[in-house]
Symmetry: C2
Subunit: 138 residues, 2 copies
């Protein structure tokens, strides 16, 4: 069974490097969404947090030796499903970004941890699970 996806847009920024995770990033940049999807952006608001699902497009094919990996910032090896490594069975990334502005088909965001040119697959409202407070999304 194979699932085929097509990017809805691309990440654009000019930072020389990005932090390893959005939770520790202040990098600003743009999510440039294909114009055909612009109407779907109309309720995204400055100040909200946006979940971005993206493609780790520069990751090599997954191999079993990556089932357990040592993250750069940790001393021990951890199972791939307990870390945010770009080397995963399906090369999907997830970031939660702060929306600064929405202008036509472009979303200005803060908190980027993706490389410039990263393909975007989906955008969703951030809805924290119960222990982290009230529902904020839809």
């Amino acid at each position: 069974m194979t699932i085929e996806l097509t990017p809805i847009g691309f990440v654009k920024h000019k930072a020389a490097s990005v932090p390893r995770h959005c939770s520790v990033s202040t990098v600003e940049g743009r999510l440039v969404i294909e114009p055909q999807y612009q109407e779907g952006l109309r309720d995204i608001q400055p100040g909200q947090h946006l979940v971005v699902i993206f493609h780790f497009d520069r990751s090599p094919p997954f191999t079993p030796d990556r089932l357990v990996q040592k993250p750069p910032h940790r001393q021990e090896k951890l199972g791939v499903f307990s870390i945010c490594s770009p080397f995963r069975p399906n090369p999907l990334g997830l970031s939660v970004l702060e929306v600064l502005e929405v202008k036509d088909n472009i979303i200005l965001v803060k908190g980027l941890d993706m490389l410039d040119g990263t393909p975007i697959l989906d955008l969703k409202p951030f809805v924290p699970p119960a222990p982290w407070g009230v529902r904020l999304g839809s």
Copy 2:
């Protein structure tokens, strides 16, 4: 540009129906992961929250009339990227579930909002963004 993904496992549960969102669900069930990925599960702990990216495998192909939709629980129409509808340009779903137990290649979870048989694409630790508190994941 097309991105091809293959399920790493499937959701299994016996609930007659599931709530519309994991944040309001107490449904329990199993994430049955392909045995070849079992080693990657070794650091998933009971009590933690797990991000599950899945395939809305029963959604029809996306059409432009779905760029704006009225969710069942809302009065107004909203842009598709501000709601969690299964009708999306790329049919990707996201749930944050509580881990009850990990046994071999099976994860018992609480909070399911996916249909029985839903293909699972990735598992990640839940890392709340800064406004929701300290980092919990890796």
